[in-house]
């Protein structure tokens, strides 16, 4: 098992390394000039050539790409993601302020999707073909289809404008005012959780159905075990393995979805920051946000792979 963990760790570090190289190269090579990482486009257009050269020299942009990459990555490791060219402030500081908001919403959505999605899938598998299964499966199929930004807009219309149940827009820290914070979060968290709930339910249902046909489940039944024991002790543990893989993907989906949901509900999180940065062509900020998103995804996938050790003894003993 230790070998497996070490191998996975090295792999994750390697992947993060490639991510940084890709991000660095893309940001350096594609746009007109890397100097745009330092000044806005309008400033760039009004600058004289000597000024540009001076700036380039000052920030080391006239050195080789290799050296530049190491400069940048050593900065990143020290927590220096450069300065936002719009706000002239540290990108890292802005991220520190915004990431907890996105994590708060995203983790809530993730946990809810597990607590609700997996039991729905189990119920469907156990009651296969009955009316409950039919209804829940239809809902799950709609859930993986619904455009979440549209769902958000419709929720605002129904629950905030028409029924006036929840305050919409913005974010309050739970440490400031727990109830206000929670009531503001209900709609966005629900929107973010819908697709992961539905996909977890679908995956749980189909993998449980597959496991329930195995010989050892028949053995468990024929030993005279109760339904609850057969399902909870024998079927679930194997049935959940593919679901765990899927939950890794849904984390990436939630992080991506936060870009949309934070825009719909005007939540000042990481996703909203990315969209704002695109519109103001604030390249260092975009680079910082996307790098952080990718690292969060890699690390959470690592955690999920490690949780296999617990779930799947075949990995533990190999």
């Amino acid at each position: 098992m230790t070998t497996y963990i070490i191998r996975r760790l090295i792999q994750a570090i390697f992947v993060i390394l490639i991510v940084t190289v890709m991000l660095f190269l893309v940001m350096r090579l594609l746009p007109g000039d890397p100097i745009l990482m330092l000044v806005t486009e309008t400033e760039f257009e009004t600058m004289r050539q000597e000024q540009i050269d001076h700036l380039k020299h000052e920030f080391g942009l006239d050195r080789s790409l290799f050296v530049q990459y190491f400069d940048w990555i050593s900065g990143v490791l020290r927590g220096d993601l450069g300065l936002s060219i719009v706000h002239r402030s540290s990108v890292a500081k802005e991220l520190v302020r915004r990431v907890p908001i996105t994590l708060h919403i995203g983790l809530l959505a993730f946990i809810i999707s597990i607590i609700i999605g997996i039991p729905i899938g189990i119920v469907c598998a156990v009651r296969r073909g009955r009316w409950l299964d039919t209804i829940l499966t239809v809902f799950a199929n709609i859930g993986i289809t619904v455009p979440i930004f549209w769902l958000g807009v419709m929720m605002i219309y129904l629950f905030a404008l028409k029924l006036d149940w929840f305050p919409v827009f913005g974010y309050t820290s739970p440490f400031e005012d727990f109830w206000l914070s929670t009531s503001r979060l209900i709609l966005p968290v629900f929107c973010l959780a819908v697709t992961p709930i539905a996909s977890a339910a679908r995956q749980t249902r189909s993998s449980m159905l597959e496991v329930m046909q195995q010989d050892y489940i028949r053995t468990a039944w024929s030993k005279g075990l109760r339904e609850r024991t057969v399902i909870a002790r024998h079927a679930l543990k194997n049935g959940l393995i593919p679901v765990v893989t899927l939950k890794g993907l849904s984390l990436s989906m939630i992080i991506g979805g936060s870009v949309l949901i934070e825009s719909v509900f005007s939540i000042p999180g990481m996703g909203r920051l990315a969209v704002e940065a695109i519109f103001s062509q604030d390249y260092p900020t975009i680079q910082g946000v996307v790098l952080l998103m990718a690292i969060i995804v890699v690390l959470s996938n690592l955690l999920i792979d490690l949780s296999y050790c617990y779930l799947d003894p075949r990995i533990r003993y190999s």
Binding site: I18, P147, W150, L260, S263, I278
Partner: protein, 298 residues
């Protein structure tokens, strides 16, 4: 010759013989929801092809005297803030959705399959290099990747297609690689090699056709996902640019008039959902119909 001989005998001995093709259709269309999805998809294609003839009004022509009309017999879904007919814009929106879906997927399938094929076939360091690269690409949420590309190249139809195409590559590469790894262990590959076939021939005429069924399922499933992602980007304002009609952009345009004309945001979302749902259901149906384990059962 002898190989076909034994095959025929096996088939004759197998109890009632069912043609593969008929079996496929029977399983595929056995669920009503799949049939429903298939009909919606066909309607969707027809709408995209004949948008000019089907749309009651010009989707781009502003008509300020008739702005923000509620649904009526003249404008079935009302009009938007500058008086354009919502139904006509939804009808024209099918084109953009379909085009982004098809082209982005096309890019992803071609690049992803090529990399997957190479990685799976050659194994070793080629495999590690390609697959780690794909892992890294997969680490970016689809929208984040699209945001970066939009930041660098700007928004617009073409860049959305490139962005989504690149974002979808790793999925196909992984699936293809897994397929190739199992297929290349088959005896017929060994036979082809013994017969003196070159690598390229084995890859293209023996491995590729045998790996297609799961890819077709994934393509159908991802069609809906791609259209959803495009709508998301257009909603944010970095996808298809106005005045072109895109469903995501229309939801955003209507957002400002939510209190008075909720239909402006609601209708394009419903259209999008219906189409994505249909692609998912057809994908499910295809998966069941192509599943070899169900052979003979149904």
């Amino acid at each position: 010759m002898s190989e076909t001989g034994t095959r025929q005998i096996e088939l004759m001995e197998a109890p009632p013989h069912v043609s593969e093709f008929r079996r496929f259709f029977r399983v595929f269309l056995s669920r009503r929801i799949v049939l429903f999805g298939m009909i919606i998809i066909i309607l969707f294609f027809i709408t995209a092809a004949f948008a000019e003839f089907l749309a009651p009004y010009d989707p781009y022509e502003p008509d300020l005297y008739n702005a923000l009309l509620q649904p009526s017999s003249k404008h079935l879904l009302g009009t938007d803030a500058i008086g354009r007919d919502t139904l006509s814009r939804i009808i024209f929106g099918t084109r953009n959705s379909l085009m982004v879906g098809v082209i982005a997927l096309g890019i992803a399938v071609i690049i992803g399959m090529t990399f997957g094929l190479l990685a799976g076939y050659f194994g070793g360091w080629v495999h590690s290099l390609i697959m780690r690269f794909m892992d890294a690409l997969m680490a970016f949420p689809m929208i984040a990747l699209a945001l970066i590309i939009a930041a660098l190249l700007g928004g617009g139809l073409k860049n959305v297609m490139i962005a989504l195409g690149i974002a979808l590559v790793p999925g196909y590469a992984r699936l293809m690689c897994g397929q190739v790894l199992t297929i290349k262990e088959n005896d017929y590959i060994l036979a082809a090699r013994a017969g003196g076939a070159r690598n390229i021939r084995i890859m293209l005429s023996h491995i590729l056709p045998n790996s297609l069924p799961p890819l077709i399922v994934l393509i159908t499933m991802m069609m809906g996902m791609t259209m959803l992602a495009e709508a998301g980007l257009s909603f944010l304002g970095i996808g298809i640019e106005a005045p072109a009609a895109s469903w995501g952009g229309m939801v955003n345009d209507g957002y400002k008039y939510l209190m008075t004309s909720p239909i402006l945001s609601c209708a394009p979302g419903v259209a999008l959902m219906l189409v994505v749902f249909s692609f998912n259901m057809v994908g499910d149906g295809l998966r069941d119909a192509l599943d070899p384990r169900l052979r003979g059962v149904l």
